[in-house]
């Protein structure tokens, strides 16, 4: 009797611990080659699923397993420490990608067919982000535009016929809106990152291109290079509503879509959300006019999705086949349309009239990358900026930015 009791206790204990480890292993045995497609964007999963279905129909021997977890950046980094990488990664050209590229887990795709059809601007942009500038660790696919979204009906009601091309015109329009009793800019600064949209817009056209390198080398400071940027941000902050710091991005989307505010400092990624909140809203976009010289006012654009092939993949041929399929013109067009995105491919265009205002910049190549992309990630720039919007103390803001940057560099 005692033996039996002991046995059950042991069995229960064992099965309990076994169940904790279950789920780690999982080989599928259906005669197909499985490739894992890891995506860091949650919004586009439905589009990917349709493309995958199409691909699997044409390639019955290959199965593509899409995984698109929330907080993907952290997930992929933990999987990296465990040496458990997917075959293909699809992510933005962000610091997580930079980290992956620098740690040498991605294949160099330069010279392959995949790169052939991509606009060279975006290839250069990708290359700039990691140490080995000769390699192409990610194939740019979709890009975004960070500028100003505006309410077409409100602008017409204010009698503004053309979107502003210069800083002075923009401020004049803001004044006009304020006088008419409208909220000129709808800020959503409770979410610190939304402030960075404004910072990126202003800084990209004003601060020197080499700022990050110079700053790290000790040749410049925020105090020297960002004075005008800070001034212009302060000017913008005067045109908000009465609770700029209390409204978060999600609430702001609903409010702006329902007619609060004339201008909205956001990227094209907000457009599907705005349309969801109010399908009848009439929207337009234009690049942020940061200076009085229209030829200097670049559109801030970055790579929203790029594809990387992991070095240790056992299914290189199949994975490459799938990437080529995604880069197929038809599929790229489908992605561009469904996601309100811009394509990094040479002849795939965004035809949505809402995004018409960015077209000229894309066509003339008057685009530039996100300045904050080159800031050290540990410095917490978004929150420092948020504090600046509250305290409006320019001196302290620039000093803190300098100090935090140096601190992070020192700790490396």
């Amino acid at each position: 009797m005692k033996n039996w009791k002991m046995l059950t206790a042991g069995a229960v204990a064992l099965s309990l611990s076994a169940s904790l480890f279950a789920g780690c292993s999982g080989g599928k045995d259906d005669g197909k080659t499985h490739i894992e497609f890891f995506s860091s964007k949650v919004e586009n999963a439905s589009t990917y699923k349709e493309i995958i279905k199409e691909f699997e129909k044409k390639n019955p021997k290959i199965a593509v397993d899409l995984s698109s977890p929330p907080d993907a950046g952290t997930v992929i980094k933990t999987r990296l420490t465990k040496n458990d990488m997917p075959d293909i990664v699809a992510m933005g050209d962000d610091t997580t990608f930079t980290d992956l590229a620098n740690s040498g887990v991605l294949k160099d795709l330069s010279g392959s067919d995949a790169v052939e059809n991509i606009q060279p601007t975006y290839i250069d942009m990708v290359k700039k982000d990691y140490k080995n500038h000769d390699a192409v660790y990610g194939v740019p696919y979709a890009t975004n535009g960070n500028g100003v979204i505006y309410n077409k009906e409100k602008l017409a009601a204010l009698g503004i016929e053309e979107t502003p091309k210069t800083w002075d015109e923009f401020v004049a329009d803001l004044d006009k809106a304020k006088e008419a009793g409208e909220i000129p800019i709808y800020f959503t600064l409770k979410d610190a990152w939304t402030g960075m949209v404004a910072l990126n817009s202003v800084a990209s056209s004003i601060s020197p291109d080499q700022f990050a390198e110079d700053k790290t080398a000790g040749n410049t400071t925020f105090k020297e290079s960002y004075d005008e940027v800070a001034d212009k941000l302060l000017t913008l902050s005067k045109y908000g509503h009465k609770d700029n710091m209390g409204v978060a991005y999600g609430d702001g989307n609903t409010a702006f879509a329902n007619g609060k505010g004339v201008f909205y400092l956001q990227g094209n990624w907000a457009i599907p959300e705005l349309v969801k909140a109010n399908p009848d809203v009439k929207l337009g976009v234009f690049p942020f006019p940061a200076t009085n010289d229209p030829s200097k006012n670049n559109l801030v654009s970055g790579i929203d999705v790029l594809f990387g092939l992991t070095k240790d993949t056992k299914h290189e041929k199949e994975a490459k086949k799938f990437i080529s399929f995604l880069l197929d013109k038809e599929q790229a067009q489908k992605y561009t349309d469904e996601q309100s995105a811009f394509s990094a491919l040479k002849d795939v265009y965004q035809n949505d009239p809402k995004l018409e205002g960015y077209k000229a910049s894309f066509e003339s190549g008057q685009i530039t990358s996100y300045p904050d992309h080159f800031y050290p990630t540990g410095m917490n720039a978004a929150n420092i900026l948020q504090e600046f919007f509250i305290k409006k103390d320019k001196d302290k803001f620039l000093k803190t930015m300098d100090k935090e940057w140096d601190k992070v560099i020192d700790r490396k």
């Binding site: 204990a13 904790l20 952290t74 990296l80 420490t81 209390g246 420092i384 504090e387 935090e404 601190k407």
Partner: protein, 287 residues
């Protein structure tokens, strides 16, 4: 060894093993990495005590410590005052006593994140709307967007939830007191106030100790509320230590540096809890 004992070992070992694998081992790993410059991936070197020295030089970390202690002390006091009051109320003979006990325990069942999101909505929409309708300027803004007031919003939410658990502990304490003592004191003519200070409070002293220590420890580790409500903002005004460690370590890619911060933080919490336990236990009475 007799077989009965062996069975107990069989039951205890998996728990010890799991505890070691998922708790002790990672903690030791964290301590190890705090002496390196590891980013969480890739190569690393030993850097000695550099990370620790940097923690003490980091004004952001110091600010986080100040905020966390301010928050924890205020919340601990509020929670203990209110949960003791509620427990005394729930311990008396009132109608629907079990119903009220259930109601007051409810917040403890809900996930902190969900509670945080609900209050986020209340602070962002309901209270400002109310303030506008009543023409109260002070209420018509989202307090979570004000660097001087945001921490109060977090105190309210954290206390609202923590009171449930501490009330249960106080209630358990109150039920250990025999009614004979109260009868004796009322014959002696003691009033309610006197009864509380001379009988109730001294007799639940061990529960008071454990509640104070647990509450302070839990509030020093505040994390979920911050994630759900402010993300450390506005500015860095509500950045708690655990939130700073998480954000700097993972998003900021400074895994080793924040590991050092975590080790410092661990030592601080252990020391604070031990000192607190010592002082509070000294004033407990023996029956």
């Amino acid at each position: 060894m007799n077989k009965r004992k062996l069975a107990f070992y069989f039951m205890a070992m998996p728990a010890v093993l799991l505890f070691f694998v998922f708790h002790t081992y990672p903690a030791l790993q964290g301590i190890f990495y705090s002496f390196t410059n590891w980013n969480g991936y890739g190569d690393w070197d030993f850097v000695g005590l550099k990370n620790y020295l940097n923690v003490f030089k980091d004004s952001r970390a110091i600010h986080a410590y100040l905020f966390t202690f301010k928050f924890a002390i205020v919340s601990t006091i509020i929670v203990n005052v209110f949960s003791l009051l509620i427990a005394i109320g729930l311990n008396s003979k009132i109608k629907g006593r079990n119903f009220f006990r259930g109601v007051y325990f409810l917040p403890n069942i809900l996930s902190i994140l969900i509670v945080g999101f609900i209050f986020n909505y209340i602070f962002a929409h309901i209270i400002p709307q109310l303030g506008e309708d009543l023409h109260l300027e002070a209420l018509s803004k989202n307090i979570l967007g004000d660097p001087d007031l945001a921490w109060i919003g977090i105190v309210i939410v954290a206390a609202w939830q923590a009171i449930a658990f501490n009330t249960i502990l106080y209630l358990a304490g109150l039920q250990t007191i025999s009614t004979d003592i109260y009868e004796a004191s009322s014959i002696d003519g003691a009033g309610k106030w006197r009864e509380f200070w001379s009988i109730t409070f001294p007799l639940i002293a061990p529960f008071f100790t454990i509640n104070m220590v647990l509450a302070l420890k839990n509030f020093l580790m505040v994390f979920d509320q911050i994630v759900a409500m402010t993300g450390g903002g506005p500015g860095t005004s509500t950045e708690s230590i655990s939130y700073l460690i998480y954000k700097g370590g993972f998003q900021g890619g400074e895994f080793a540096y924040q590991s050092a911060n975590a080790v410092v933080y661990f030592i601080v919490i252990v020391v604070v809890s031990l000192v607190q336990l010592r002082i509070l236990q000294r004033r407990e009475v023996e029956m």
